[in-house]
Symmetry: D3
Subunit: 172 residues, 6 copies
């Protein structure tokens, strides 16, 4: 039987249990998974606190105890939706299908003639990067929303303080 490889993209700011749940779900259907790390050039922003390299680490460590064969690939923004699929394709190992719930991602891959599946949505409250960042800034609980390995990485890089600090920046 033919090897099947899927593509999944996110910004992973940070990588959380919702992502983890989607990835383990996709992994049941395919042999290998290419994980695109979107807006790779961004970091130290209130909505993009972590570098691409830090996000590579989060993904690798969070998936370390699974047997999911995956490739974590930073993808820089080109700010041109019309060439975005070609850009993805050029930066990644070849894939047979895409998994996404993002309407724009779905649209762009479908217009390019690539098969798109919608993974089951994760429903538990707080499984969202925005909510986790809000909680980190506000000093509320957030650690139950991410894999333990991600907690370690955020602590190693002083990520809580970084996020708080960059979120205080007001551009005049």
């Amino acid at each position: 039987m033919q090897m099947r490889r899927a593509f999944y993209i996110g910004r992973f700011q940070p990588f959380h249990l919702g992502h983890y749940s989607v990835i383990t779900s996709i992994a049941r259907d395919v042999d290998e998974l290419v994980i695109g790390i979107g807006s790779a050039q961004k970091s130290h922003e209130a909505t993009n606190p972590f570098t691409a390299g830090e996000r590579v680490m989060m993904i690798r460590h969070a998936l370390r105890d699974t047997d999911i064969t995956h490739y974590a690939i930073p993808i820089e923004d080109l700010q041109r939706n019309a060439v975005w699929v070609s850009h993805i394709v050029s930066m990644t190992p070849p894939f047979d299908m895409v998994y996404s719930n993002n309407p724009l991602v779905i649209r762009l891959f479908e217009e390019a003639g690539i098969e798109v599946h919608q993974p089951p949505m994760y429903h538990r409250d707080g499984y969202s990067g925005r909510e986790i960042r809000r909680r980190i800034i506000a000093g509320e609980d957030w650690k139950h929303l991410v894999p333990p390995a991600v907690i370690d990485i955020i602590e190693d890089i002083d990520g809580v303080e970084r996020l708080r600090q960059v979120s205080r920046t007001d551009i005049d």
Copy 2:
């Protein structure tokens, strides 16, 4: 008598009867018209759903039955207002004057010493790209606001569904 060529720029998302009315009005004063298609690199966004090529088609087809000699030229953003006029000038046939009601466009061309005219504003309700996009997304009437050729193009490219889909995208 000397040939007179004018420049007019818009994003044309989509090209509508307000644009059509301005262009036919300008065409009474000049011999040729250069139509700049702004933010040419953008597409598949809620505020910029159509590609530059699709917008070229809208303009050409909408003006097909007029005898207006025109050049439809995609203009990519440079994100630097101070060089924008030079950028326009380098991408277009030479022109003698600009028609615009946009204060920034007027300012930049006037600082560059280029003559700017303000075409009569079109007043009928809804003659605005924003309003037309809102109506398309909301499922309200919009076809009376654009030239018939533009309806055909939007249908050919599945533009209604594209706009609805990309407008649902929420960036986390």
Copy 3:
């Protein structure tokens, strides 16, 4: 019968009789022709003396007396071959096939699954942008190699002197 539209790209530095011959040949096979003006952002260089706007004019004037329905579209370089076809497609009206003798252009469109035809090569000596630029710089005959309309445009913009001057620039 279905309308057929083809794509042809060149740098047109300047537009010459070789280009003219290819275009009239393609026009016998198709209904409309999209002419991409490559490296649109370049000008005032020894190998790219003319602006995109000047090249739009050359094409329009040279084809004025033909009945070839065409679109002359400036195409800026993205410096990424892997997304180049998508970039072209987004900037142009939709086309059914490409005409090119350039191996890279052929390869990129074929990898994208787009039909490519090779137009008959033009053989007469000197029908090359490089040779024409060399002759202009050297003060040799060149006017018989371009359409009369192109001579006029080059003279109007003081193009001979511009090319000579920029070709003397030595970067230290």
Copy 4:
């Protein structure tokens, strides 16, 4: 004793008495001051009305009667926080420390291992670029908030009218 050089960055839209006060305060601690002019590529926007060159003039003229040895250096945005410190360092004379109250600037320099000091904040109402631009647009008093040299420059370049005009632009 060793010469000490500090770095201070702002957008200076426009340069105002708050900036002046901070700079004279820093100058008491160091021998030379490198003044980075941020978002140098921006101008003719409601929040960035003045060009980098105009801001160089504001700084030079405002500091002309002081004996502060300074370098005013335009710094273009790279839109990548992770490389911003290296970008600054490459564009400027070497400096020993940074003065800033901006949390992002502080964070980025501290992560790069560069010493950051926080200058005393200026408290007087209105010492903010945003407030001064608001007053200029609204026709309220603003001249007491900037050094006299800055008033002259803004008048020379018709800056009041420019700011009002670009702030009226509504992007459709």
Copy 5:
């Protein structure tokens, strides 16, 4: 004992036995290896025939039977040497040292205060991307110079014909 992670960068056009030999040699000294794929945005050029994604595949497959823990990360050019190290650092998991024989790479990391080691050079004739590309184009033997997995990938993507075709392109 502390985990040690090293960084090694190349363009890998294609990945060959020289690279393989260096990597296995480095792997004896460290626990993990970050492999940067330089000029990631380039492909379909005579000197850069393969996409970043294809090069990711070459590396992964070539190292599949080793137990070298590695991260293969595409790195796009920024065309600014002064920020290149920061760019690398932001795109990759943190590393303790760099292995390189490239004088520029050595210089840039050393100026940034990062430890650089020079791996033993591979001496066998032909272990160079340039030589392998020359052989592929010329139809000479090349398969003994790359890992078997790389032969498979190049054949899967029709890489021999692609390289020959793009190398025939002459820019006029």
Copy 6:
């Protein structure tokens, strides 16, 4: 009498006595001089070894003992000749005329309607950045070709070794 300000641009890799001689000559005709530092984003290359900031230092220190009022402004390349003059103008204090012997610079400013003067050429052998870089790499005498302040700066930044090292880099 009206204040007169001139513009002069170079790459200053490094700033040498030929530049110094031209600048002191221009300074006899004008009141102030804007010195553009071209290709500001480049450094650590065989033809562009020094950063913009290092070149700012060379200019400031070399002119310290003169009474020439000057502004040293880094100018990043835009790679678009057609907008280059606007880019310069936006980054610099306003100037009345340009001094240059570079044919492209002369052409671009003249096409923009700005007055260009040609300063007397410096004739002494070796007064060229290329020759000085060649001598530094070859270990030949070069110090008599630059102002003493430039020797100090190059030594402070280990510039001789940097230039030698980056010039050994061969891109495969």
